[in-house]
């Protein structure tokens, strides 16, 4: 009975804490704008299959390149497909791929970073050299190579993106672990004879979680940028999947007379990236982590 009460209390505290962080984030205009944009995109991505007015892959020669009208809010593209339908469904593709990609990046990057920070010594040296080497290959070259050899299905894209955007998290997690590792509670846990696993789980993760989450939020927007660039170059998801990068690249050649089919996906992608960026910044500030001097890697 008593232990039940305690866990309930703990859970309530966690919820309250999360709510408080959200409140701090929304207290500044930039954070509020960011949160609103992201929320809007997430809701739209969830309901888009039910509200889409047309079939996203229905090709019809009669409706090619129509200007925006009451029937086609954002006009139609060169194959006669409704641009509004494809734009709202495009957010679904982008959010799904980058959400699971970021999750993978956070998991392997965070755990490897904590491990290296804790173990130190030779293993740490070797792993960090390899991570540095991976960092110095332009992401786009590596991604393109993987995708061209393994294919462009989401089953390939998600782990590949997760892997390449996780290597930066390794560094952050390692640095954060270095900061806590000299503290008394780790030393005393060692003295009590706790195993490395128990120290990682009970002592280190709660203390480095914030730094890793903030980095992950930032990586999320970069991954979205990378993913849409891949699609734009023709190496991302394959047609007829509704995707913003793909839509922009298809509509680009015709934009001198059909600019609407390029504007809609541009607005969608830009607003989501800006929204995630503002949210990540507000998140970092609410947790008291300063990212302002970090370079883009």
């Amino acid at each position: 009975m008593e232990s039940n009460l305690i866990t309930e209390d703990k859970q309530k505290n966690k919820l309250e804490k999360a709510f408080e962080i959200l409140k701090t984030m929304a207290s500044k205009p930039s954070g509020l704008i960011g949160l609103t944009i992201v929320l809007l995109h997430v809701v739209l991505a969830l309901i888009s299959p039910y509200i889409a007015p047309y079939d996203y892959k229905a090709i019809s020669p009669n409706t090619m390149l129509l200007a925006p009208s009451a029937e086609h809010w954002f006009g139609t593209d060169s194959l006669g497909r409704d641009v509004f339908t494809r734009t709202i469904l495009g957010g679904r593709t982008a959010l799904t791929v980058t959400f699971f990609g970021s999750l993978i990046a956070l998991l392997w990057g965070g755990l490897l970073g904590i491990f290296c920070g804790l173990v130190g010594g030779k293993i740490d040296d070797v792993v960090m050299r390899v991570v540095d080497a991976f960092l110095s290959i332009p992401w786009i070259l590596a991604m393109l190579l993987i995708v061209s050899l393994l294919g462009t299905s989401t089953e390939v894209l998600i782990p590949a993106l997760g892997f390449f955007y996780g290597k930066g998290i390794v560094r952050v997690a390692r640095a954060a672990t270095h900061d806590v590792i000299a503290k008394d509670f780790i030393v005393s846990a060692r003295a009590r004879g706790h195993s490395n696993m128990s120290i990682i789980w009970n002592e280190i993760i709660p203390n480095v979680r914030d730094a890793i989450l903030v980095e992950g939020a930032m990586r999320w927007s970069w991954m979205l940028l990378g993913f849409s660039s891949l699609s734009f170059l023709g190496f991302g998801v394959s047609p007829p999947t509704p995707d913003w990068g793909l839509m922009i690249s298809n509509a680009r050649g015709l934009m001198s007379f059909a600019y609407w089919s390029v504007i809609a996906p541009i607005v969608g992608l830009s607003s989501l990236i800006i929204g995630i960026n503002l949210t990540a910044d507000a998140f970092a500030k609410a947790l008291g982590i300063d990212r302002s001097t970090k370079a883009p890697v």
Binding site: R129, V130, D132, A133, F134, S136, I137, P138, W139, I140, L141, A142, L144, L145, I146, S148, L149, L150, S221, L225, S228, S229, F232, L233, F235, G245, I248, S249, R252, M255, S256, Y259, V262, I266, L269, S270, I273, I274, N277, S292, T293, A295, P296, V297
Partner: protein, 318 residues
Amino acid sequence: MLLLILKRIGLGFITLFIVSLITFVGVEVLPGDACTTYLEREAYGAALDACIKRLGLDVPAYERYLDWASNVIRGDFGYSLSGEMPINEVLGPRVKNSLVLASVSILIGIPLAIVLGIITALWRDKLPDIMISTITIFSMTIPEFISATLLILIVAIWLGWLPGIVIIPSDATFYELLSNIILPVVAISMIMTAHMARMVRSSVIQVMSSDYVQMAILKGVPYWKMVFRHILPNALLPAINVVALTIAWLLGGVVVTEVVFNYPGLGRLVIESISNRDLPVVQALAIILASIYVGINLIADLMTLMLNPRLKSLQIRK
């Protein structure tokens, strides 16, 4: 000091060695070798045998790696599969074109970024800062292909000021290049400037809140003298590393920008060689781009070392 410099250079070479291993092993581990990948459906019989012979795929992988690596050190990247010519001849004009694009963008970008960064920091949270910061945040978050596409749409199509698509042969002369690269340069330096200006801004703000600047204010040092003597030298030092990282980071972005503007540089070669499944060229590009990255970082590290008296004496004591 000398020892430290040598150590940094050594670390750079180790990184490059690992990069070469990664690209080699990567190509080896992923399904398909250079020949089956390149020939695709025609990968059988005499054509396949000839290709395997020419690339020497019939010898063990480690021998091939050693062979390849020793040739690369001598500056020979082997043969391109699709063009049937030495990779060096493919690379030459592309490297030149990319260098022109990058150096013009950097020459415009760095001074502009420093000026904008200082303005936004000195007038922090006032109107100039809010205006410039909004623009820089926008241009650094929006993907390269979107800003490039918008530039073409607005400047070339709606206003009709400049040609939207660059049509230059890859062996164009320097003058031909210069007159055609306005839009690509604007697209690249816009993002680069935005990143660097943000860094300069936060660096200047950090220095302004330091004890010695507060002390200078209390002593009554004139404002502009304080800015130029006390703040800027200290604020720009950490920015060097960030400038290097931004330039290196742009290597990826340049690929996209070059494709949008159809500019015949290294970036478009990346896409072309991957579309043609020309693995020897891809390997060469990986090493070259990684060397540029490592080289830029090394120069930045050394510059910071040279310019920072504290780091210097620290190393001597060690």
